[in-house]
């Protein structure tokens, strides 16, 4: 297993270096502030040939180090670009599976989301925001591998709790006059397919729908999202009921009124 990952990571890095010479015109002078060997490669994968710029208005928050590499909290906040956003992509350069999510925020939700992710090692975590004028705005943060105080990182457990609780949703709405925040947790193993011959099994679609059934949050998820993921979304305004809908890659659908 380890061999397989190493192989794909190595070939990606070789590819990355061969792509160094073909960066998009006009952006070549912008050096990666996170100095990642994978930047040119991941940029090609996720942004393609479209124009892009590093932009401090796209904020990615993470702790200074990954205390538990299976549960690293991140927040992506593009509030400064609110009203112009088409979609948001998040990824981790040095993960064996880099893609974390693709999000179409729409105009009913603030462009800010918090969740937890898995990382393999120290890595840049990035978010790219595509604005309606066709430009990608890229922000990111460097996440260090586990620090260490008195002990090693805590070890997870192999408790098959999820088998009898798959798709159970716990949630709460936190309201104020101008906005309402939804936090929810979904029981799901979010298996990557890279460990111990356990096939990949993960939530891949998430929608928050208003009472008319229209999606106000639409997000595609990938295996680096943590087991039993917890999400935080902020809706504009504080009216109406919402329904959470999820589907995993085995076709299981989960639905709950929040």
């Amino acid at each position: 297993m380890a061999k397989r990952i190493t192989g794909s990571l190595l070939s990606a890095m070789v590819l990355a270096s061969s792509l160094l010479c073909s960066s998009v015109a006009g952006a070549a002078e912008q050096a990666d502030p996170l100095q990642s060997p994978m930047w040119d490669y991941t940029r090609q994968i996720f942004l393609g040939q479209m124009p892009w710029q590093f932009d401090a208005r796209v904020k990615v928050s993470a702790p200074p180090f990954a205390e538990d590499p299976t549960q690293v909290p991140i927040t992506v906040d593009a509030s400064a670009l609110d009203g112009e956003i088409d979609k948001v992509i998040a990824w981790a350069d040095l993960n064996p599976i880099q893609h974390i999510f693709t999000w179409f925020p729409g105009d009913k939700v603030k462009p800010r989301v918090s969740l937890r992710i898995k990382v393999q090692q120290a890595t840049p975590v990035r978010a790219a925001v595509l604005t309606r004028d066709g430009v990608w705005h890229v922000g990111g943060v460097q996440l260090e591998a586990a620090g260490g105080g008195c002990t090693a990182p805590s070890t997870g457990n192999a408790d098959p709790y999820w088998e009898s609780h798959l798709g159970e949703i716990a949630s709460r709405r936190f309201g104020s006059a101008q906005s309402s925040r939804y936090r929810f947790k979904v029981v799901h193993p979010m298996d990557t397919g890279l460990v111990n011959n356990i096939p990949e099994f993960f939530l891949e679609q998430l929608e928050l729908r208003d009472s008319a059934g229209k999606a106000v949050v639409k997000m595609q998820l990938y295996p680096p999202v943590s087991e039993n993921p917890v999400f935080t979304f902020d809706l504009k305004g504080n009216v109406g009921q919402h329904q959470l809908w999820l589907r995993d890659n085995s076709g299981n659908e989960f639905e709950q009124t929040l």
């Binding site: 928050s61 299976t70 937890r116 620090g147 008195c150 002990t151 090693a152 805590s154 935080t232």
Partner: protein, 314 residues
């Protein structure tokens, strides 16, 4: 190793890191320069640095201690590595010719027991829960220590405790030791009071001027209950697991203050709907901000403990 982390990525970097570490560290001398400090009759403490594990300190961030009786020596904790264990043994030999009879491991965290190999010819005691946790997690801890401090760890293997500590007290020479098993810090934590001198070896149940760590606490409520029990112990001097020795109740007062603040802060955050990254940005009160490593340990504690508070608030 880490195979119980079933849903993690494969830990493929471990082997690579190891070989790099051994290569880069060749220039260092690896001398812990242990200097036992006498704090009471027959009683010495080796105070570690108030830091995180690093390649510079070799993992010597911990307090260990020993008591010399006319029938042999009792050692409380063996340090972070085989090298440390040997250095501790050499430091004891400079002070007494007495044999080392009893060795105690306060709990299963790596900086407290990975020096055990140097004491394999003594009786190594630990609470039954500590023995089990060392057997289950000791190897992963040792691997992680190699990663964090490098070649200081050379030849370090897990030496399990020999005997489960299921007695309340033990006499050796003219010293009588009383044991207090607790759980607040790691699930199995041993405190030892030398009734002859009034010195309490408090293990990691007590940190002082260095922020406490929470990766294996059964809960802040349990730790707080244990703190109340510690305050009833008739000690005259307290040796914390990390940080300076105290002759008063300052260390336990700081512990109680911080544990209570942490518990309240997490509960309020969950009730307000804060995410983990928002909670991590919470400013620390001045009285905690000046405690060593408080900012980093607060962030770690959020990761360890906030999910429980979130679950309770959902």
């Amino acid at each position: 190793m880490l195979s119980n982390k079933s849903r993690a990525w494969v830990p493929l970097m471990a082997g690579l890191t190891l070989s790099l570490v051994s290569f880069c560290a060749a220039a260092q001398t690896f001398d812990y320069q242990l200097a036992p400090q006498q704090i009471a009759p027959d009683t010495w403490v080796l105070q570690g640095k108030m830091q995180d594990f690093s390649r510079k300190n070799g993992g010597n961030i911990v307090n260990t201690g020993f008591v010399v009786t006319e029938q042999g020596v009792v050692v409380f904790d063996t340090g972070p590595s085989h090298r440390y264990g040997k250095a501790l043994r050499a430091a004891i030999a400079k002070i007494t010719d007495q044999p080392i009879v009893h060795v105690l491991n306060s709990h299963h965290h790596p900086d407290h027991f990975l020096g055990n190999q140097a004491f394999a010819d003594s009786t190594i005691w630990a609470l039954p829960g500590t023995g089990q946790k060392i057997a289950q997690q000791g190897g992963a801890f040792a691997d992680n220590m190699y990663r964090l401090v490098g070649d200081w760890m050379r030849d370090t293997d897990v030496q399990l405790p020999h005997k489960p500590l299921e007695i309340d007290s033990l006499a050796l020479g003219n010293h009588r030791f009383r044991f207090y098993p607790m759980t607040g810090h790691s699930g199995a934590d041993l405190l030892m009071l030398d009734e002859t001198t009034g010195v309490l070896f408090a293990s990691d149940m007590v940190f002082y001027q260095r922020a406490l760590t929470t990766p294996h606490t059964p809960g802040l409520d349990i730790w707080q209950q244990d703190m109340a029990r510690i305050d009833e112990i008739p000690y005259r001097q307290l040796v914390p697991g990390h940080g300076p020795i105290v002759q008063d109740r300052a260390a336990t007062a700081q512990m109680r203050d911080y544990l209570s603040w942490l518990d309240t802060t997490f509960r309020n955050a969950a009730e307000q709907g804060l995410s983990m990254t928002e909670l991590m940005a919470t400013p620390l009160p001045d009285r905690f901000a000046e405690v060593r490593l408080s900012r980093a340990e607060f962030a770690r504690s959020v990761v360890h403990l906030y999910p429980r508070y979130e679950d309770a608030a959902f």
